[in-house]
């Protein structure tokens, strides 16, 4: 009697195991894991750095400055050209933007700015991605929101789209 009941219960085990596995796989299918690499520095201070200027007549960014956006970009990066109009909109709204150019050259950056507009207050030459790595950034373009005291308030991975402009401007505006 007792044995028969145990067997009857055990018959359900494969079905329950299958349902659990199905639920796990279905969750992964409908809600894929976030593969974005986020910087672990958000909420902490921007580390100090020193970069040479990228184009003549424009200073290089430092860790000090007003509440601003720090935009990691490159002239060879297509999404960077795609986000340029949004950065120009941010500039028109009075948002200061520092640029850090990755693996780039002066002439290439000048050409990029001539073609896509120039939203930058300062532009640094990060030839070997040293500053990019020290910021926990894993690609171009990426944009950090930095408060006046140097606190990194947010990181935007990927190109800035039209729908991101208001949020980024508000974040910088709130950190003045």
């Amino acid at each position: 009697m007792g044995r028969g009941r145990t067997v009857r219960w055990l018959l359900w085990v494969p079905l329950i195991a299958f349902a659990t596995l199905f639920a796990v796989v279905a969750t992964g299918l409908w809600k894929p894991a976030d593969r974005t690499v986020h910087s672990a520095l958000v909420g902490t201070r921007l580390p100090a750095f020193a970069l040479p200027p990228m184009v003549e007549g424009r200073p290089a960014p430092t860790a000090q400055g007003p509440a601003r956006l720090v935009n990691i970009f490159a002239s060879w990066c297509v999404p960077c050209a795609a986000e340029a109009p949004q950065l120009m909109r941010l500039k028109a709204m009075g948002v200061p933007i520092d640029g850090i150019a990755i693996r780039d050259t002066g002439p290439a950056v000048r050409g990029f700015l001539a073609r896509n507009g120039d939203p930058y207050l300062r532009i640094g030459d990060d030839r070997n991605s040293a500053v990019q790595l020290s910021l926990g950034s894993s690609g171009v373009p990426e944009t950090f929101v930095v408060a006046r005291d140097g606190t990194i308030l947010a990181q935007h991975v990927g190109d800035v789209r039209a729908e991101d402009v208001e949020r980024l401007a508000a974040l910088v505006g709130g950190a003045r």
Binding site: A40, A108, G111, R127, G136, S138
Partner: protein
């Protein structure tokens, strides 16, 4: 045709910067290079995600190799360099994950499964022996 292509190619050609000095060059000191190499094999390439920076040809992996070799050459301990990167990117950047709330099953599951296997084997041997 050439005139048509020139403006398209110009940004590509101008932007071709040489790789970082230590991306593809070993350190002169063999012991230091071995230490740098061992560390590079446990660091994740952030743009290729399935490869270590020792295996990847991505530009960013080259820059990360250069960073590792620069710091090893300066006398920094490999563990300190790993910690520096983990403080930037989280434990995601290392293939040698530290024991943490999310990773302890990884470390304990093999021991647990081994114990279950031993128990099952003992049970089945005992039954056969008894017969």
């Amino acid at each position: 045709m050439r005139r048509l292509l020139a403006p398209l190619l110009a940004p590509v050609l101008l932007a071709a910067t040489p790789p970082a000095p230590l991306a593809y060059t070993q350190l002169p000191d063999a012991a230091q290079e071995a230490r740098a190499r061992a560390l590079m094999e446990t660091l994740r390439c952030l743009v290729c995600q399935g490869q270590s920076i020792a295996d990847s040809d991505a530009d960013m992996a080259g820059d990360m190799r250069a960073l590792v070799r620069r710091r090893v050459a300066r006398g920094e301990e490999p563990d300190a360099i790993r910690d520096w990167l983990v403080s930037r990117y989280g434990a995601y950047v290392t293939y040698d994950p530290p024991m943490a709330a999310a990773t302890w099953p990884l470390w304990l599951a093999p021991l647990l499964l081994l114990a279950v296997g031993v128990a099952v084997a003992r049970g089945s041997f005992r039954r056969r022996g008894g017969r």
